[in-house]
């Protein structure tokens, strides 16, 4: 392939249909989360949730080259990952509404959203909880001689958990096909990464595990896709794990109860001006992958999917309370 320096990696590397689909997923994530927010306000969703609005490029670009056989482990801020990996927003809404048709049959909610069939092993309510699990998934692939890889999403806050250290070390010594993707959105809840983490970039810590570490602009779809392309190739070639750090930002508060006392309006607005979706969309148009009308159509498609999803969820049945202990154990073993 002839490298054309002025053309971003993603445009060179992916077919137009793939790029269009990526844009669709980014819109879908944004619209899904806006829809979830609205449903929450209207009392259709209870509990809490963690929105990833502003981080869509990171989710979608990271999953760009993954197949359903490849696995991801996700986080409490996992809606984007779930959609990026191929989940259906109707079943996601149904889960958030606590319905039997939801991905977790209403037992998990936002914090445990999963879609095992598309390789999403689940969001996780425990910060850092998915890190060793991802390493285990990669171990399975290696032991069973499969070539699937596992992508482990985690946040800047999670990188200070002991689980991070133990997981990266084991992945490295066993050369496992896992890619650790840190979504560094500058804060773990209210705590700045600059306060909580003793190094400037999370990727600096890759050296402690003799693995490659790279920090990229997480709002630049192509930059993320390229970093993942390299890391996935390395993993599939049996050369072991990598750490990729996507610098990004969440526009919303940490969760539904955030008074937002730790970020300035200026900072938030500055980051909103770097909207990853608008950026990617402009890029696609600039490189002739789509025209403006085509982009509108993509967005409209996503909008329709969200509207349909909400309707599906609303119309779905809730689990019966007699089933409170169902799924604790396998049926046959119950």
């Amino acid at each position: 392939m002839i490298v054309q320096d002025n053309i971003p990696f993603a445009i060179r590397h992916f077919a137009p249909a793939q790029l269009r689909e990526a844009l669709r997923k980014m819109h879908l994530i944004r619209l899904f989360e806006e829809g979830a927010e609205e449903s929450y306000m209207r009392g259709l969703i209870h509990g809490t949730m963690h929105l990833s609005i502003g981080q869509e490029a990171s989710a979608v670009a990271t999953c760009m080259e993954l197949t359903d056989a490849d696995k991801i482990t996700s986080t409490h801020r996992g809606h984007g990952h779930c959609i990026a990996k191929g989940a259906d927003v109707g079943r996601m809404f149904a889960e958030f509404f606590g319905k039997e048709t939801g991905y977790c049959h209403g037992r998990g909610g936002s914090m445990h959203i999963a879609d095992v069939k598309t390789g999403n092993l689940g969001a996780n309510g425990i910060v850092g909880g998915g890190l060793p699990i991802a390493v285990g998934a990669a171990l399975t692939a290696k032991r069973l001689g499969r070539d699937d890889v596992t992508v482990c999403f985690f946040g800047d806050g999670a990188n200070n958990e002991g689980a991070f250290h133990e997981a990266l070390n084991m992945a490295a010594i066993w050369k496992l096909p896992v890619i650790f993707v840190c979504e560094n959105n500058k804060y773990g809840m209210s705590t700045p990464a600059t306060y909580a983490t003793a190094v400037p970039n999370i990727a600096d810590r890759a050296a402690a595990y003799s693995m490659p570490g790279v920090t990229v602009d997480g709002n630049d779809f192509s930059a993320v896709a390229e970093a993942l392309h390299i890391a996935i190739a390395r993993a599939r070639a049996g050369e072991g794990p990598s750490l990729v750090e996507n610098l990004t930002y969440r526009w919303r508060g940490h969760s539904k109860s955030d008074r937002n006392r730790y970020r300035t309006k200026d900072e938030i607005e500055d980051w909103m001006s770097r909207d990853p979706i608008a950026r990617f969309r402009a890029e696609l148009i600039a490189h002739g992958v789509l025209d403006a009308a085509g982009a509108e159509a993509v967005e409209a498609e996503a909008k329709q999917a969200v509207a349909d999803g909400v309707e599906f969820a609303k119309a779905s049945p809730a689990p019966g309370i007699a089933d409170v202990t169902k799924f604790v154990h396998a049926e046959e073993a119950a």
Binding site: H46, G47, T48, E95, G98, K99, C104, G106, R107, G108, G109, M111, H112, N124, G125, I126, V127, G128, G129, G157, A158, N160, E161, G162, G188, M189, S190, T191, Y195, A196, T197, S257, D258, R259, R261, Y262, A318, P319, I321, D323, V324, T325, V328
Partner: protein
């Protein structure tokens, strides 16, 4: 900061003020920070954010980041730092954001804090307090809704309390801090907004003493944390039917106040234990067992009943979530049947 180890005495004023459970805890911490310069608060997002449940709220503004320390998301290490600090002269109050995350720190709490005095033959002390927001009912699902008091109650070297009122939340926290050994304080998330009259100034509520919240002669209910309130509601309802329920607020899981419970059961002859933790091997198992082995055994007129959490993780769906832990109606039903000799 300068070394300054004497404790400033604050005289209790004899007055009370209406406060929420969360405010009462905050008041206790402020008093502790005022009177003892070795007290420090530690935990995730307890500073500017004010804590996940807004319990520390503005304490960082009043006491600064050296006394109100945000910790990285490092539960094992954070708890261990608190243990090491307690071992050497500070009195840390460490907040877990949710008690579920204490699962990451069992090593430091159980293998270190609880045992250091003993392993070192009395030559060391670990005066640390761990605050644990616990319980279900917030739609936060299986990893944010657990009740681990039975785990800690099983560990010698720890004390474990579960305040159910604002007054006790303050008094037990101050008692925990005054205690020379590690104390675990379970705070129920659904109680944070509950209001009540709370004495102003410094006072302690003794650890290890249950409280009789309602007297009655027909059935004894021993309940803990939020279940105390559900039991009281059930008792009020049953009183209308002429059934007099004695409601004991357990308050302390370790040590357990055997005497109060035994005396009550000797009077009523009937015991129902109500707790939110998983039924099997939960707090009610111990209460049942201590009665069944005590002199109260001979006074028992009916099998000892337990109402505990379902044998399942806490589900997300709100109806399932409610079904997973005892509700007022469940308590009412079982207590009624017990009173009527139907079990």
């Amino acid at each position: 900061m300068n070394a300054q180890t004497q404790i400033t005495e604050v005289t209790p004023s004899g007055e009370t003020r209406e406060m929420s459970y969360a405010e009462a805890i905050r008041d206790a911490m402020a008093i502790a920070l005022d009177r003892d310069p070795t007290v420090v608060l530690m935990g995730e997002d307890i500073g500017t954010y004010g804590g996940a449940f807004q319990v520390t709220l503005d304490l960082i503004d009043r006491y600064g980041p050296d006394r109100v320390m945000d910790t990285p998301i490092s539960e094992l290490g954070g708890a261990g730092v608190a243990v090491g600090a307690a071992l050497t002269g500070l009195k840390p109050i460490f907040e877990f954001q949710f008690s579920d995350f204490a699962a990451l720190a069992m090593e430091q709490i159980v293998n270190q804090a609880a045992k250091l005095r003993y392993m070192l033959g009395g030559e060391a002390a670990v005066p640390v307090v761990f605050r644990m927001p616990a319980g279900s009912g917030t739609g936060a699902a299986a990893q944010h809704s657990q009740s681990f008091e039975a785990w800690f109650g099983h560990v010698p070297g720890l004390k474990v309390v579960q305040p159910s009122t604002p007054e006790d939340a303050k008094g037990l926290l101050l008692a925990a801090l005054a205690d020379p050994d590690p104390v675990i304080v379970f705070e129920h998330k659904l109680l944070y907004k509950m209001k009540g009259q709370v004495p102003t100034g410094y006072y302690t509520t003794p650890i290890g003493k249950a409280a009789i919240r309602r007297t009655g002669s027909d059935v004894t209910i021993v309940a803990s944390a939020i279940m105390v309130h559900r039991a009281l509601e059930a008792a009020a309802k049953l009183a209308e039917e002429g059934i007099e329920v004695e409601v004991i607020d357990l308050r302390s899981v370790r040590p357990i106040d055997r005497d109060t419970i035994i005396a009550s059961v000797k009077k009523t002859g009937k015991l129902l234990c109500v707790y939110e933790g998983v039924r099997t091997l939960g707090v009610g198992a111990e209460i049942s067992a201590l009665i069944a082995e005590s002199e109260a055994f001979d006074y028992l007129d009916a099998p000892i009943q337990r109402l505990g959490g379902a044998e399942a993780p806490i589900p997300y769906n709100p109806d399932l979530e409610r079904a997973a832990v005892p509700q007022k109606a469940d308590i009412e039903t079982v207590a009624r049947r017990l009173a009527k000799g139907e079990v």
